[in-house]
């Protein structure tokens, strides 16, 4: 490798580390992203042009076309997508990265492989790449709703683990015997793809953010392994950085839900759980309210806390809620937003969404800061959130979400809950908050209901 290319890779590696570091602070995040992107661009251009191989022109043309094509598609998807679709988009892009890694391994394995390290990296690249590809696509399908039906594989833990051991055994056998044949490559690829599907399919929607983060981490590891194969430091370090960062993020998310990584992967939370009829204790009855009653309540309150959830994102109601909040603030009401770390389908999902509609950064309160303030709140408006305000997490040891930190909404004087119906949340469990005597239900699509509220308050 030429000195020039080595230096380019070195610079790129530094930009990755600095970029990732800067991404972790609100003021520097944007420059961090640009720095890392710059380093990536540099190393891509360097890889194409700095080498001493005899490469026919048409291959350069092909590479150019591929890069142009992928860039345009990627850019278009990225600028067109709605902010509410962000989680599934990250998952989709991640799947592409994994597929790329698997394909590289696929091509390399069809060539002569003489070293065992080489064989191990190629096989690991194929398997991990394939797992992330199919796993990410399943996660994408689950999040955007095209994979609605709950698929329950009997004994899925046992099946998954046995299947994984089978893949490992087969991979190990291939490395030791050094046999190379297309059938083996296809089998490894197929094995990885099937495992990815088996792995993500039984995991419930509420745990999807954790899964995406984990798959993201895996793509990093696949990139790092490919880096070992090509003796490329920038791929190795870049991949490991993503892998390590992804694991840390994954663990942070698990903590926010009071779950261990093991229970997410091997547990039964969410996905397999169908709300069981008849199990519900006598929860009492619910109280309905109307937009005008709710408007009066909020208009004459001193402290109002808004709790946004996925329903807000689905209804695209982030602009209306901002309008409501400004309107109330204009009438002297003290309004705040309470953001649960896993509200929505991704950590920080609500922050991104509310930032899109220009909500002031300092109005968004994190869980630990807002929880003591609920007892002072006159009205709490819950918009499309469910599991993150479910008191069962505190007082029902039998509940699957028992122990998960929640927003202590029930401490407020009055609670207005906007939901489309009484359907259970993503975790598929009942929420006794809705049956609380302090709670009034405002049924309807979040956008429509909030628009009514705004109109009512304006008329007062």
């Amino acid at each position: 490798m030429s000195i020039a290319l080595s230096i380019i890779y070195l610079i790129a590696t530094i930009t990755f580390i600095v970029g990732l570091k800067k991404l972790g602070h609100p003021e520097t995040a944007k420059s961090g992203n640009l720095i890392a992107a710059g380093g990536m661009g540099l190393s891509i251009v360097g890889t194409i042009f700095i080498h001493d191989l005899e490469v026919p022109t048409f291959i350069y043309v092909l590479i150019g076309v591929a890069i142009l094509l992928g860039s345009i598609i990627g850019w278009l998807i990225a600028i067109k997508v709605e902010m509410t679709k962000m989680p599934e988009l990250v998952s989709l892009f991640n799947g592409f990265g994994g597929a790329s890694a698997a394909l590289i391994g696929f091509v390399e394995f069809s060539k002569q492989v003489d070293e065992s390290l080489q064989a191990i990296t190629i096989i690991a690249g194929i398997i991990i790449g394939a797992i992330t590809f199919s796993g990410s696509l399943i996660a994408w399908g689950k999040l955007n709703g095209s994979l609605k039906s709950v698929v329950k594989i009997p004994q899925h833990n046992l099946v998954n683990n046995l299947f994984f051991i089978l893949i490992l055994a087969f991979a190990g056998y291939t490395v030791f015997t050094g046999v190379q044949s297309p059938i083996i490559t296809y089998s490894l690829l197929a094995g990885g793809l099937i495992y990815g599907i088996l792995f993500v399919l039984p995991i419930g929607g509420a745990d999807m953010p954790v899964v995406i983060s984990l798959l993201n981490s895996l793509t990093g590891i696949a990139a790092a392994i490919t880096g070992v194969l090509y003796d490329s430091m920038v791929m190795l370090v870049g991949g490991i950085l993503v892998g390590a960062a992804g694991i840390i993020l994954t663990v942070a998310m698990c903590k926010a839900m009071n779950r261990t990584l093991g229970s997410v992967i091997f547990g039964n939370f969410g996905g397999g759980v169908v709300p069981v009829e008849g199990v519900n204790k006598a929860l009492g009855s619910i109280t309905r309210t109307t937009a005008s009653d709710a408007a009066i309540m909020m208009n004459y309150a001193t402290n109002v806390i808004i709790v946004p959830g996925y329903g807000l994102a689905v209804a695209q109601a982030q602009h209306v809620i901002h309008e409501l909040e400004e309107l109330l603030a204009g009438k002297g009401v003290n309004v705040k937003y309470a953001i649960h770390p896993v509200a929505g389908r991704m950590p920080g999902h609500m922050n991104v969404l509310l930032a899109e509609s220009n909500v002031e950064y300092n109005m968004l309160m994190e869980m630990d800061d807002i929880n003591p303030q609920f007892s002072n709140a006159d009205v709490v408006l819950v918009v499309g959130a469910n599991d993150v305000v479910n008191p069962a997490a505190h007082n029902d040891p039998a509940s699957p979400i028992y122990g998960m930190p929640i927003l202590d909404v029930e401490n407020a004087k009055h609670i207005i809950v906007n939901k489309r119906s009484m359907k259970a949340g993503y975790a598929g469990i009942e929420n006794e908050l809705f049956y609380n005597t302090k709670t009034a239900m405002l049924f309807g699509d979040a956008k429509a209901a909030l628009t009514d509220l705004v109109t009512e308050i304006k008329n007062m």
């Binding site: 970029g19 609100p26 992203n33 990225a78 592409f96 990139a223 390590a244 950590p347 991104v352």
Partner: protein, 102 residues
Amino acid sequence: MNEILEFISSNLQMIYIIILSVFVGIEVIKSIPAVLHTPLMSGANALSGVVIIGAILVMLHSDPSNYVSLVLGFVAVVLGILNVVGGFTVTNRMLDMFKKKK
């Protein structure tokens, strides 16, 4: 046993790099505010597109008459760059929203 020792000694540099990178990755991400989890995940996701370098190498090293390798390499480059460009663009868009408020 000897083989393992040999493996370690011949790849010592790589092992050092892997271990140090793991720690750098963990240190860099530690104590990130929840607000930035989504952009960070998306940014890290874009970074994992670094595998595109491998895809380009596949194409550069490919025998011009080996169509399978060329086609697969081509697809790998397209997917890799999709991951990179899409990832960075989306991250930038998200972060733009945070910046807007004065």
